[in-house]
Symmetry: C2
Subunit: 459 residues, 2 copies
């Protein structure tokens, strides 16, 4: 990971300068949470946590950075001196990478001096918003695919290199079985796969010759692209070459369809292979797929073993961005909360407890104040203490298994492509009382007309 | 830029291995072009060209990369040896960074050995698709804003760090006046700006005290956020503090609104300031803005001097990805084209000519074969020769000016938020004849039933 210290909104620096200038730097706690679920979604898979921890524990302005900031003529030398030694020295609690989370639950809870804790906002949101979105989106696609596997083919349409890399990783955590992205294979150890492009097939006068040439190079790893001219004719030719391969002791792995009516064509192709004793040849399909199209294909009995999903998974189209925010919940003056409609925040240092039945199925969560004792598994763990990481960065495969095991414990109603149900997140007695108390104080502080027509408070 | 050699789809490597294994490595030309405009869009601003050139001229597999590929057990030692010395040695023609382009026009034209030219596909698409999309989207937002300025506030919702960085750069090229992203300021020299967050205002018991504290630190650079409690009351308090600042010889730069009815509130706030001789205080507005909302605000006379635009500009929501593709157009066997409906490609090595009227307004383009002589300015220039960059990387401000000057030469009908008009792109006589000729050959090659119900060819 590149150093992201300068990857911040300018107001983080100007506010910091002003806090210091006004001798305000008391202890404060911020929650990172996601406001709401996109339409049709039932849950999030928290992701980007490990990167966010690495970021928070590696903040350091270089001499270059300071020189650049000085050149802007906005900051005092005192402040630039302060930045030179600026680190995050606080503590962070977080859910596990791969944990299922719901709206308004703290994903990260950051406590530190106000300047330090506030400063983390921008990069933490940049990291967690995207990775959580793609892991969650990929899981929707994987759920829709049922028994079939899902492969990430999104690199060429991802929003930059990081999006291609972190997107491949997030999709894998969300249940994709592999990626076409070679660099993601190298950096993260994700299984990589590929087939062939139409340009390869078109480089030969005869389609069957293209298949033969490819099988010569990859006798045990070939997936032929069969829709360059006519999918069913392509399947017949692939079957001929597969039979030739058998004679040499090899097996064709699969064929890929990339256009047309995938349901109808996959059934036709399956018949062609099955009728020739080639039942082992797998069928891959791609072409602007998403969870809705895949659900229809599966429901209609399309004979597709693996879906290659590009643009819509790695950009989470049409969602584009989830509503992760970072809000002050407590400072030395006490717990803080917002009251504006649709933008409520929950005050105080909190913990989330997850309640399961005897089979391990998640029943509901309780959001409580840290000081309360509640039954259930607590989701927030201390991962940074005095600015140092105290949790081990976990292995990618372990994170993926954890995420998929967690998904298996969710009620089925939340795993549909169009989710109507809502997971229950209760508030503890302590949290409820605190909210009531702060609400009353807030109402008393308002002029009369504001109580009748509540004004909004934005943070 | 990190080295992107491994940032590729696996099939680029497997196809390369197979081409070599089958002694196929003739000269080939590929076009990178964009299939179609997103709904309501009138044009693209080509962007990412400079990065794509840097990428193509810096390809090099490291020992680490080769070791990783060997560990996959898919490739022969001969092929891995070949990769060790693999470079792009061909030539590239491209439009200028910041050039206006239309669907199906070559943005890049790559000629080289088939393995070299094919290999560039994935990273070139990853680079150009995103940057072109955001530059074009930002320009739509800027057009909608009219006389008001547009600032990029998207970092926290961008799809990763690169998206935040390259997105800020693309938005600037597309006409945004600045960004909140400090790192983009440092790396690219883009003007940065920021205001304050609600958490800053809430850190003081009294809103006016928060403004005073900020003005103390930034007496000549303050923009107060005035909607934390009640926007109009916030404006009154900001006016009081602005008057105090005047007495000390300073001027409040502006105030920001971040919620509510921005049209109504901006008018109210403007009145408050104007009535107190504070006509110089600028009004900034933000809150999930996009070109459609901004157009409405401007049309209804909202008094907003600057729009801060986040999520929707930097992710180009709801578009998410444009349809940039990379297709074979010629090899040693001659010009190649595709015939499948909606996926046509234009054969041969081509040039684009732009025809303007005497005032410099763009009238129409002609897409022609390279061998033809056509009136008009040719858009494709040779930028890479024998694998070496022969064009200077241009300065960002120069690119931005070029892009905005080009936009000023477009007919107004293409610069609306909802574009119904279409820019005319003609095909030259030579190109038309070639397409006819290839079409005839293609029809003759088909079995009779296919001519009646044309089958599709996908590349």
């Amino acid at each position: 990971m590149t150093n992201k210290t300068m990857l911040t909104d300018e107001y983080q620096l100007t506010m910091m300068a002003s806090y210091l200038d006004n001798n305000i730097d008391d202890k404060a706690t911020f929650d990172m949470f996601i406001r709401g679920l996109p339409e049709d979604w039932g849950y999030f898979i928290a992701n980007g946590i490990e990167d966010a921890i690495d970021y928070a524990t590696s903040i350091k302005f270089s001499k270059d950075d300071i020189d650049f900031l000085r050149s802007q003529g906005k900051y005092s030398e005192d402040f630039l001196d302060f930045l030179r030694g600026f680190r995050f020295n606080g503590e962070i609690y977080s859910v596990k990478e791969g944990e299922i989370v719901f709206p308004n639950q703290p994903v990260l809870r950051v406590t530190g001096s106000r300047t330090e804790a506030q400063f983390l906002e921008t990069a933490i949101l940049n990291i967690i918003n995207f990775q959580t979105m793609v892991a969650s989106k990929a899981n929707r696609v994987v759920n829709a695919a049922g028994e079939s596997t899902v492969l990430d083919f999104g690199l060429r349409r991802a929003q930059g290199e990081d999006a291609g890399m972190e997107g491949a990783r997030a999709a894998y955590i969300g249940g994709a079985s592999g990626t076409s992205n070679v660099k993601a294979g190298k950096e993260y150890g994700i299984p990589t796969g590929g087939t062939q492009a139409h340009s390869y097939v078109m480089s030969f006068d005869d389609e069957a010759d293209a298949f033969r040439a490819y099988a010569k190079t990859f006798p045990d790893r070939s997936v032929f692209l069969i829709d360059t001219y006519n999918t069913l004719e392509g399947a017949e030719k692939a079957a001929i070459v597969a039979k030739e391969m058998e004679k040499q002791g090899h097996r064709l792995v699969g064929v890929r369809l990339d256009s047309g009516d995938l349901e109808m064509l996959s059934k036709g192709v399956r018949d062609i292979f099955n009728s020739q004793g080639l039942g082992y040849v797998k069928i891959y399909a791609s072409n602007d797929l998403n969870e809705y199209k895949i659900e229809d294909l599966v429901r209609n009995g399309a004979k597709i073993d693996a879906f290659g999903v590009g643009t819509e998974m790695i950009t989470a189209k049409p969602v584009s961005a989830i509503s992760g925010v970072y809000k002050l919940v407590e400072d030395t003056a006490g717990p803080k909360m917002k009251f504006s409609p649709g933008k409520e925040s929950n005050p105080g240092k909190k913990q989330i407890y997850r309640i399961s039945d005897e089979k391990g199925t998640f029943l509901y969560d309780v959001m409580a104040l840290e000081s309360e004792k509640i039954e259930g598994r607590s989701l927030l763990e201390k991962v940074v203490e005095n600015g140092y990481r105290i949790s081990q960065r976990r292995d990618l495969k372990e994170i993926r298994e954890y995420a998929l095991d967690s998904v298996s414990r969710l009620p089925d109603s939340l795993k549909q492509v169009r989710v109507a149900d809502k997971y229950e997140v209760r508030k503890s007695e302590g949290l409820t009382s605190l909210i009531d108390e702060l609400g009353e104080k807030y109402l008393q502080s308002l002029p009369f007309y504001s109580v009748v027509h509540p004004i909004s408070i934005n943070q």
